[in-house]
């Protein structure tokens, strides 16, 4: 039961072409909607039935998000796709853009139709040149085929779609930073409220969805919300792409039903490399809490199960670590990432991410004291609140939380290794 939604066409020759996409039913839903002038409400309901939850990380139900848009209010509205894909471990949207760009085009067309937007922007991270070119080609093909532009298929519906290229900033994946970036500014998240549905791109009502969320829409509508729901779990329908990376034999993107046991996913990915022992897994992209291998082997890949286990499904990037991994070194790497990627506006994040990175660095270098371990925990809580105490963060966007969750979880599950570094001024695991 793999590759049924966004990766449905992977097996085709040059699956990114219009011909390939249409050969497997592409654009038929759009045509149907336009011909029948399907009421927006019906589409929203179908999505709600499907329980498609946002694939960008937060898992917000897409149908509900679309229902916030006041479609019939006058004035420009926008649909924006988030192809910024910057969360370490995550590389699924890249493959959608490269191999199934028309699914995204069709998804954005349907989204535009549903929320009343006549213009869409797809924000692609600046490094994704090949995916960008594929998307550009897809847009050109679609336009040539009368699927984009004015009065699409004679329906009276106008829709233009443009790619916008980023230029290297993880924070632009945060939806309001992304809007700022399209507006030609630094990608600094906006304080909410107002939310984008009221005040979005250029101040106009805007809906932002992840690439995978939008690319899933045509297939959902073609087969029905119920079909999609039944692929997954009642609280989260469908299959989802998991990017499995790190110490596995067959790293890759796997589109599998939500709720699949991690065990099975690990097996698909060829198991732990060199037959070594599984030590730890970060199951949802670098921002979510790490889980020790034993715990992970008992968990299913869905939102609720992850929450119960003390972590999050996030973007579905599964980072696998074997027993040669030094957890201090890994945390040093993660903390360094957040320090580098903080946008710099909120005090706790700007000052705290650097502080965290420096403390972890000192621990790694064997130059820290036990006090530093407490300090590390303290600073992490001051940046992002305590995830385990369900305490929210103190910053405008979730990057502060994202920086603190790894710290708190690494200390929670692997404190011994940190203490070892303090005590012995070197690493507990030899192989790293």
């Amino acid at each position: 039961m793999a590759n049924e939604v966004c990766f449905k066409n992977l097996h085709l020759d040059e699956p990114w072409t219009l011909a390939a996409y249409q050969s497997s039913g592409g654009y038929s839903v759009l045509k149907k909607i336009l011909q029948e002038q399907t009421p927006a409400q019906t589409i929203v309901e179908e999505l709600k039935t499907s329980v498609l939850r946002g694939r960008g990380g937060a898992g917000f139900p897409t149908g509900l998000k679309w229902s916030f848009m006041r479609r019939d209010d006058p004035g420009q509205k926008y649909i924006v796709c988030n192809s910024d894909e910057g969360e370490p471990g995550t590389c699924k949207d890249r493959d959608i853009l490269r191999y199934n760009p028309h699914a995204l085009v069709e998804g954005m067309l349907i989204a535009g139709y549903t929320i009343g937007a006549s213009v869409g922007y797809n924000y692609i991270r600046g490094e994704f040149w090949e995916p960008f070119e594929r998307m550009e080609a897809a847009i050109d093909e679609a336009r040539a085929a009368g699927l984009l532009g004015r009065n699409i298929l004679g329906s009276g519906f106008d829709f233009e779609l443009y790619n916008h290229l980023g230029a290297g900033a993880y924070i632009c994946g945060e939806e309001t930073a992304l809007l700022e970036s399209i507006e030609g500014k630094k990608g600094q998240p906006r304080f909410k409220p107002p939310f984008p549905a009221n005040y979005g791109l250029y101040g106009k009502p805007t809906t932002i969805n992840n690439t995978e969320s939008l690319a899933s829409v045509p297939e959902i509508l073609r087969n029905g919300g119920q079909w999609f729901l039944e692929l997954g779990k009642p609280s989260a329908g469908g299959s989802k792409i998991f990017s499995v990376s790190g110490h596995v034999n067959k790293p890759g993107n796997y589109e599998i039903p939500l709720g699949t046991p991690f065990r099975d996913l690990l097996e698909m990915a060829g198991g732990v490399r060199h037959g070594r022992k599984l030590k730890a897994v970060i199951p949802g992209g670098s921002s979510v809490p790490v889980l020790p291998g034993e715990l992970m082997m008992e968990v299913d890949m869905d939102y609720d199960a992850m929450m119960e286990a003390g972590t999050l499904l996030g973007s579905g990037a599964v980072i696998v670590m074997d027993d040669t991994t030094c957890m201090v070194k890994v945390l040093e790497n993660l903390s360094h990432f957040y320090m580098n990627e903080s946008c710099g506006q909120c005090t706790p994040c700007r000052e705290g991410t650097g502080w965290l990175a420096r403390i972890v660095h000192r621990i790694e270098q064997g130059q820290a004291s036990y006090e530093d371990l407490d300090r590390l925990e303290d600073v992490a809580e001051k940046v992002g609140g305590n995830f385990y105490a369900r305490e929210g963060g103190r910053t405008i966007c979730a990057l502060g939380d994202a920086a603190s969750m790894p710290v708190l979880s690494f200390l929670k599950h692997f404190r011994k290794e940190f203490e070892y570094h303090v005590e012995h001024k070197r690493c507990m695991v030899s192989g790293f």
Binding site: F191, S342, T347, R350, R394
Partner: protein
């Protein structure tokens, strides 16, 4: 408005009513509940980035920033709960880790918001052990000192530039902990409002360069005053240290300057300690200057005046008064003039055309309140560069434009007003008159009969261009419109024609009509009779004596100059200087002495400068504002001018002149003036004639000008830091490329400007903002001093 719905919220157990949607921090502020903050500022957009104002809100999973959280009914807020305090303390700790903790050597020490808030949480908030960030400083000009290591990234200064000054000069470059506030490249901040970031900066990152390290905040004494350089009347506080003015800061007055002041008002005080300060009375004896005592000097002055009157006639006396003089000084001057039966008195020193002076209102005013400018729908500015002439007015217009007001301009240059402009027409000073006729033509149903005969003649030849049509339609559009004549319109040689058209247009378009005047007290000058045709309280005189221009064209035997430097403060410097040099006596009441002055004057009476004297100004709204002064100490024998004039008046046997305080002088005048209601209603009955353009020589162009923002009066001209700014240093002669082409001087770097046998060289700048057929310069500069007039037909040749 009274039955607006409110919501009920609770902060720290207090039940409060609030407007729905108001921000929590505003409600707390209004009710005296203290919430710490750094990025929040009531006049700036909400950034919510410092995270200092985090408070606990019932049912919210995380602490919320009070500055960005709208109140909702039933909301329960805790600003001092354990959760709130923990969040605030954490922010404080983060702010301090990279902030130097050397308050004793910081210029902001004692008035630092960071220091204050930090103290509130007890001293020991940080257990930071890593190295601190060091930020290299860039020189951003003569006014603002930077110490960016102290910056806490609140971005107030950045938002100020974008939202208030209208020009983004400071920014936050880089990202994360490498974010730097500054100009990025070494570059002087040039906004005329830039100094406000000094007040906005909560820490010692941006401080006042001129007063840096000169005194500690707690050593300063403060008195309230009124800014003395434009017609706004911005409220200021003057801080003195050991008897010297150490700095000037804005004083909040929502209806006037809100919480801002222009750089000119902030830094002009530096002139008080200028080298050219006149500290003792000086008299010229046999061509030699001698220091003397007050009594001798005043006796000599009295004798000179009396002798002139007896030898010739009262008419041989001319009195020129700065529009920055106080109401009290003006009242005494008018009393002296009346006693002498000499009405040759004027404050309109840069005006050329007095044809319709009888038609002028009792005093010129704005046409609405300063605050009401924000609410206008359409504004037409004629001959005005408010950004440099009345910066706080420009700020209000900027706010209006941000709310959608249509701003239209008819100017000699297409000025960058740092606000959206709906339509703009540029023309030479002469062309502006024709454009006014064109505008009148473009307006349907104009009452042509209301025009003066000279205006009618122009009207009949007028043609409507697209741009003028655009302005006409905007000014006639729905909503509240205002037509404003600015400094440059009033200095225009055809002021009366411009006003005749402007008034006719205002009338038919139902627009308000107003003026933006020079100096701090032009309204007061009219009310106290500082014109040759009106008496105290603006009452008419039977005769019309000589106006400022006529007094110079028809030289007098004796001049009394009150705070005036003729070479810079008059419409034609050459004319004025010649008159001064030819006079038998020039008596100067002045805080400063220049070498030029020493050449033409005979008696120099040192008077207290701005900030040193008490007095009153009437601003452009007709608002009377009185202030006190601080007396200079030490060697300086300068006296408040009202006292000097009182004694001079006594010696000239002026009646009812026994005032013992400036308040008495003011009240005596006010009792005559009565209500000071602004009323600009008037129609123009007489005007100048626009001579035929003729066939000017091939090299001829219209010389036009604007008084340089930092050369407006004797004080600003001596403010040393202001003189280092790009605005003050700009002394180029400007011309657009088409005109340069026509004159064949396109590639010249230097040109000679010739007028009336005089020739002055200057750097040439090709600048497309300048109108066709004109050459534009800054007036009140060395250039105009040498050449002469502010407006006129000149010849231009490449050097």
């Amino acid at each position: 408005m009274s039955d607006k719905p409110t919501v009920t919220i609770e902060i720290d157990g207090k039940t409060l009513q609030a407007d729905p949607g108001a921000m929590l921090i505003d409600i707390a502020d209004a009710n005296g509940i203290v919430i710490p903050r750094f990025c929040y500022h009531k006049k700036l957009s909400v950034a919510a980035n410092c995270r200092m104002c985090l408070v606990e809100v019932e049912k919210a999973p995380k602490p919320l920033p009070a500055c960005a959280t709208p109140v909702t009914d039933g909301m329960k807020v805790f600003t001092r709960s354990a959760k709130a305090i923990a969040a605030q303390k954490a922010t404080m700790e983060f702010l301090l880790i990279n902030h130097p903790l050397d308050c004793p050597i910081c210029d902001q020490g004692g008035e630092c918001e960071l220091q204050d808030v930090a103290m509130g949480y007890g001293g020991d908030v940080s257990h930071y052990t890593e190295g601190k960030r060091v930020v290299l400083d860039k020189n951003i000009g003569p006014l603002i000192a930077t110490e960016m290591t102290r910056c806490i990234h609140c971005t107030r200064c950045v938002r100020f530039g974008e939202e208030i000054a209208g020009v983004r000069e400071l920014g936050a470059t880089g990202r994360g902990e490498r974010t730097r506030i500054g100009t990025y490249v070494e570059q002087t901040v040039a906004s005329e409002l830039s100094g406000n970031v000094i007040d906005l900066c909560p820490v010692g990152a941006l401080t006042a360069k001129p007063s840096r390290y000169s005194a500690r905040a707690w050593e300063l004494r403060q008195h309230d005053s009124i800014a003395a350089h434009d017609c706004v009347g911005s409220n200021i506080s003057i801080h003195t240290f050991r008897g010297q003015v150490n700095r000037v800061v804005p004083r909040d007055h929502e209806e006037i300057n809100e919480c801002w002041i222009a750089d000119r008002d902030r830094f002009s005080y530096q002139a008080l300690s200028a080298k050219e300060r006149l500290r003792t009375p000086l008299i010229k004896v046999d061509g030699e200057w001698k220091e003397t005592d007050w009594q001798t000097a005043l006796e000599m002055a009295q004798a000179a005046i009396t002798k002139t009157i007896s030898d010739y006639s009262p008419d041989q006396v001319g009195i020129l008064v700065s529009p920055n003089a106080t109401l009290e000084e003006m009242h005494l001057l008018r009393k002296i003039a009346n006693r002498l039966q000499c009405h040759n008195i004027d404050h309109r020193l840069r005006q050329r055309d007095f044809a319709h002076q009888q038609d002028m209102p009792r005093f010129p005013s704005l046409g609405c309140s300063i605050a009401a400018l924000e609410e206008l729908s359409n504004v037409l500015l004629i001959g005005s560069n408010p950004r440099k002439e009345q910066p706080m007015i420009a700020h209000r217009l900027r706010k209006a434009a941000a709310k959608g007001a249509q701003i239209c301009l008819i100017n000699q240059r297409d000025y960058d007003l740092a606000m959206p402009v709906a339509a703009s027409v540029t023309a030479s000073y002469r062309g502006m008159v024709e454009q006014m006729a064109n505008l009148a033509k473009a307006i349907p149903n104009l009452d042509v009969a209301a025009l003066t005969p000279e205006a009618k003649a122009l009207y009949s030849k007028a043609v409507v261009s697209d741009a003028i049509g655009e302005i006409a339609s905007r000014i006639c559009a729905d909503g509240d419109s205002l037509i404003l004549l600015g400094n440059q319109a009033m200095a225009n040689p055809y002021f009366s024609l411009i006003e005749s058209f402007a008034r006719a247009v205002a009338k038919v378009s139902n627009s308000r009509f107003g003026y933006l005047t020079e100096g701090a007290n032009t309204a007061g000058a009219w009310l106290s009779g500082m014109v040759p045709h009106r008496d105290i309280a603006g009452e008419p005189l039977d005769t019309t004596a000589l106006n400022a221009q006529a007094m110079l064209q028809e030289p007098r035997n004796l001049y009394l100059l009150h705070n005036v430097e003729p070479e810079f403060d008059t419409a034609d410097a050459a004319l004025a200087l010649k008159a001064m040099h030819d006079a038998d006596h020039v008596i100067c009441l002045t805080p400063f002495v220049s070498s030029e002055m020493k050449r033409y004057a005979s008696i120099l009476l040192p008077i207290a400068a701005f900030a040193e004297t008490s007095g009153s100004y009437v601003n452009i709204e007709g608002r009377l504002q009185s202030f006190t002064g601080h007396t200079p100490v030490g060697e300086n024998q300068a006296r408040p001018a009202w006292k000097v004039l009182r004694v001079l008046g006594n010696s000239l046997e002026v009646e009812d002149c026994d005032f013992i305080s400036s308040t008495e002088v003011r009240d005596a005048l006010l009792s005559r003036v009565g209500e000071m209601t602004p009323d600009n209603q008037a129609s123009v009955t007489a005007s100048a004639e626009l001579p035929a353009a003729g066939t000017p020589g091939p090299q001829a162009v219209y010389l036009g000008s604007e008084v340089n923002i930092y050369r407006t009066d004797n004080v600003t001209r001596r403010a040393s830091a202001l003189q280092q700014t790009p605005d003050a240093r700009d002394n180029a002669v400007r011309i657009n490329s088409a005109t340069a082409e026509r004159l064949g001087i396109g590639s010249a770097r230097q040109v000679s400007v010739k007028y009336n046998g005089t020739q002055v060289s200057a750097d040439l700048l090709v600048d497309e903002t300048v109108a066709d057929d004109s050459v534009w310069v800054y007036a009140a500069t060395e250039f105009t001093r040498k050449l002469g007039p502010m407006f006129g037909v000149v010849e231009l040749e490449a050097n």
